[in-house]
C-alpha cells in the first residue's frame, strides 16, 4: 500500500513538474473532442463531467478550504437552474442574461445558507444544507404559478452566439462547458492564492486563532458560501439550457451525494482533484451499467474507505513542492527574483 501510494505520488509530481507542457496539450486535446467524436452520447457524458467539475469546484470551496461540508449542494444547483430556466422559458430572455441570473440565484441560496450557519461549528452546515434542499424543493413543487410545480419547466432556450445556436450536436455546448469549467478553475485558483483563501483556510485550521489575527470569520464564511452558490448556480444555468427541461426531481439528494463523493474522492482542497474525480466517478456508472443499483452503495463505501485510508483523496493532501511566491519577490538566500518554484528545497 505504502509503495503503491509513493509510486502514485511520484507520478503526480511528474505531471506537476511538467505542467507547462502537459496542460496545453491536454487542453488542445479536450478542445478537439467534438470534432473527432461524433457520438451524441459521449459528448453528453463529457458535458455532464464538465457540470460536475463546476459543482465539485464549488463544493470544494466550502469543504476543501473552509473545512465544512454540504449534503444539499444540489439545492444551489437547482436554484441556478430554475432562476435561469424560468427566465428563459417564461420570459424568453437570452441565455447569456439568464446565465447571470442563474449565478445570482445560486448566490442567493448561498447567502441564506451562510447567514444561517455563520456562527455555527463545522458540522451544522451539512445538515442545514440538507434541510435547505428540502425547503427549496418544497417551494418549487408548490409554487405552481411560477415554477409549474411537479410538471417542471419546458422549452428552455439554447444559447445563441451572434446568430449561431449552440447545441449538443454541433459541439457548441461542449465548448461552452469547457469555457465555464475554465472560468470555475480560474476563480478557484484566484481565490485560493489570496488573502481571501488564506483567511478561509485559517478558519478551517483554527477559527479562534484566525479571529485573533483580525479575520472577520463570519463574513468570510458567508462570502465563501455565496461564491460557492454562484458557481453551483452557473452549473445549473448551463444544465437547464443543455437539457431544455428541468423539474424538481432532477436535483435530488443523489446529486448532492455524488458531488460530495467526488470532492472527497478527488481530494478536498485540490483543484485538479475535482476534475480527475469528476471524470472518473461520472464515467464509472456509465461504463459499468450493471452496477447501477449499487452505485450509491459503492459511493458510500468509497466515502468510508477514503476517510479511513486516504482522507486526503486522490490528489489532495499537503503539497510537497515549495511555496510559490508572487512574481518579483525574492526567495531568502537567493539574490535573483522570480518565484523560484524549481530551485526551492523540497518540503518534508
Amino acid at each position: 500500500m505504502g509503495k503503491l501510494s509513493s509510486v502514485y505520488d511520484s507520478f503526480v509530481d511528474f505531471i506537476l513538474k511538467h505542467k507547462k507542457i502537459v496542460l496545453p496539450v491536454f487542453l488542445v486535446l479536450l478542445a478537439v473532442v467534438p470534432l473527432v467524436i461524433k457520438s451524441q452520447y459521449v459528448i453528453r457524458v463529457f458535458c455532464l463531467i464538465g457540470i460536475y467539475c463546476i459543482l465539485t469546484l464549488s463544493l470544494n470551496l466550502i469543504a476543501g478550504y473552509m473545512g465544512q461540508s454540504s449534503m444539499g449542494h444540489a439545492a444551489l444547483y437547482m436554484m441556478g437552474a430554475y432562476f435561469s430556466g424560468l427566465l428563459g422559458a417564461k420570459l424568453g430572455w437570452p441565455f447569456w442574461i439568464t446565465l447571470v441570473f442563474g449565478i445570482l440565484g445560486g448566490a442567493l441560496g448561498g447567502l441564506i445558507l451562510g447567514f444561517a450557519t455563520m456562527k455555527l461549528s463545522a458540522g451544522y452546515l451539512s445538515v442545514i444544507t440538507l434541510a435547505f434542499g428540502e425547503v427549496v424543493e418544497m417551494v418549487v413543487l408548490n409554487w405552481n404559478s411560477v415554477t409549474n410545480g411537479p410538471l417542471g419547466v419546458r422549452g428552455i432556450p439554447r444559447p445563441n452566439l451572434f446568430g449561431w445556436e449552440l447545441t449538443p450536436t454541433n459541439g457548441g455546448f461542449y465548448w461552452l462547458m469547457l469555457v465555464l469549467v475554465i472560468v470555475a478553475v480560474l476563480v478557484s485558483m484566484c481565490v485560493v492564492n489570496s488573502k481571501f483563501g488564506r483567511a478561509v483556510r485559517a478558519i478551517k485550521e483554527d477559527e479562534l486563532a484566525a479571529k485573533l489575527m483580525g479575520v472577520h470569520t463570519a463574513a468570510y464564511k458567508v462570502q465563501t458560501i455565496v461564491l460557492s452558490g454562484a458557481m453551483a448556480g452557473m452549473a445549473g444555468a448551463f444544465y437547464a439550457s443543455m437539457n431544455r427541461y428541468i423539474d424538481a426531481a432532477t436535483f435530488s439528494f443523489d446529486i448532492s451525494m455524488t458531488i460530495l463523493c467526488i470532492v472527497i474522492f478527488g481530494g478536498m482542497g485540490s483543484i485538479p482533484g475535482m476534475i480527475v474525480g469528476s471524470a472518473l466517478l461520472i464515467s464509472f456508472p456509465e461504463v459499468l451499467r450493471s452496477l447501477a443499483d449499487y452505485r450509491f452503495v459503492v459511493y458510500g463505501l468509497l466515502l468510508i474507505l477514503m476517510m479511513r485510508f486516504r482522507p486526503q483523496g486522490l490528489l489532495g493532501g499537503l503539497s510537497r513542492r515549495p511555496y510559490k511566491l508572487p512574481a518579483g519577490v525574492s526567495r531568502p538566500g537567493k539574490p535573483e527574483d522570480g518565484g523560484g518554484t524549481e530551485e526551492g528545497k523540497k518540503v518534508s
Partner: protein
C-alpha cells in the same frame, strides 16, 4: 498617556469572579509581566484584553480609546496581537502563510481585485510576501518558509507564533507563557529574543510562570492571585514581597516554588 490602561476589569463565570477589579498599565517600550499561581486568572485577563471574553465591569483603553467588548478583529486593528499558551498556529499551512495571516489586516485589496488580479492586488500581495520574508529572515526562520507549521520544532513554533503577531504591526504584543515547555537553555534564548524585540521598539506584555525569565527581563511586574492584583513593582521588590511569597507557597505548593525559583 500609557499605551494600555486597564481600569478595574472584572469577569464573572456563573457567579464566580474569575477576575475582580484588576488594574494595570503598560507604557510604550516596556516589558511588563503578569505573574500568579495557576488559575489566578491571568489568561482570563488576556482573553478580555483581546476580545475573546466580554468584560463584566471596568474598562480597557488602548492609546486613549476604549477597546473592551470590541470584537477581536477591531482590537487587532487597534494594535494588540497575542500568542497562546498552547500554541495555536495554522498547522497545515506553510510558515510563510502563517505570517501572511498576521498581515491579513494590513492587506486591503477587495474581492474584485483578486478575481481580476488588478495591479493593486499584485502590488499588495508582493509587498505582504516581502514583509513576511523580511520578518522571518530577521527572526532566523527564513530557511523554513516552505515548511508546514506543524513540522517545526517546538521552539520554532513559539517563535513563529510571535512572528505572526508581529506581522500584524501591533503596537503591543501579548505573550501567554512563551517559555512553557522549554528547557533552561531554550528559555534563556527566548529571553534574549524578547529583549531583541524590545530593541526593535516593541512593547511587550508577558504572562509567565518561569520566574527566571520574568525576573530577568521585566521592567515591572504585576502579581495576580484569586483574580485580584496583590502586588506590583520592580522585579526586586516583587521577589521580596511577603504577599507574593505567601501566594506562591500557599496555593502553588512548595514544589512549584522550588521549580520556579
Amino acid at each position: 498617556m500609557a499605551l494600555l490602561e486597564v481600569k478595574g476589569i472584572t469577569k464573572v463565570f456563573g457567579g464566580l469572579k474569575a477576575v475582580e477589579n484588576v488594574e494595570f498599565k503598560v507604557d510604550q517600550g516596556e516589558i511588563i509581566s503578569i505573574i500568579g499561581p495557576n488559575g489566578a486568572g491571568k489568561t482570563t485577563i488576556y482573553n478580555m484584553l483581546t476580545g475573546v471574553y466580554k468584560v463584566d465591569g471596568g474598562a480597557i483603553t488602548f492609546e486613549g480609546k476604549d477597546i473592551h467588548n470590541r470584537p477581536p478583529r477591531e482590537i487587532v486593528k487597534a494594535g494588540i496581537a497575542r500568542t497562546f499558551q498552547n500554541i495555536r498556529l495554522f498547522p497545515t499551512m506553510r510558515v510563510i502563510e502563517n505570517v501572511l495571516l498576521g498581515e491579513h489586516i494590513n492587506v486591503k485589496y477587495h474581492f474584485w481585485d483578486l478575481l481580476f488580479k488588478t495591479p493593486k492586488y499584485r502590488r499588495e500581495e508582493k509587498e505582504a510576501h516581502q514583509r513576511a520574508i523580511d520578518l522571518l529572515e530577521s527572526l532566523d526562520l527564513a530557511d523554513e518558509i516552505d515548511n508546514y507549521a506543524k513540522n517545526l520544532p517546538y521552539g520554532m513554533q513559539r517563535k513563529l507564533e510571535i512572528a505572526r503577531a508581529l506581522a500584524t504591526n501591533a503596537k503591543l504584543i501579548i505573550l501567554d507563557e512563551p517559555a512553557a515547555g522549554m528547557n533552561p537553555q531554550e528559555s534563556e534564548e527566548l529571553m534574549e529574543f524578547i529583549r531583541s524585540l524590545r530593541e526593535r521598539g516593541e512593547t511587550i506584555l508577558l504572562i509567565e510562570h518561569d520566574m527566571n525569565v520574568v525576573m530577568n527581563i521585566s521592567d515591572r511586574i504585576y502579581v495576580i492571585d484569586h483574580g485580584r492584583k496583590i502586588a506590583e513593582g520592580l522585579p526586586k521588590e516583587i521577589a521580596k514581597n511577603p504577599e507574593v511569597i505567601k501566594a506562591y507557597l500557599g496555593s502553588g505548593g512548595a514544589a512549584g516554588a522550588k521549580e520556579n525559583a
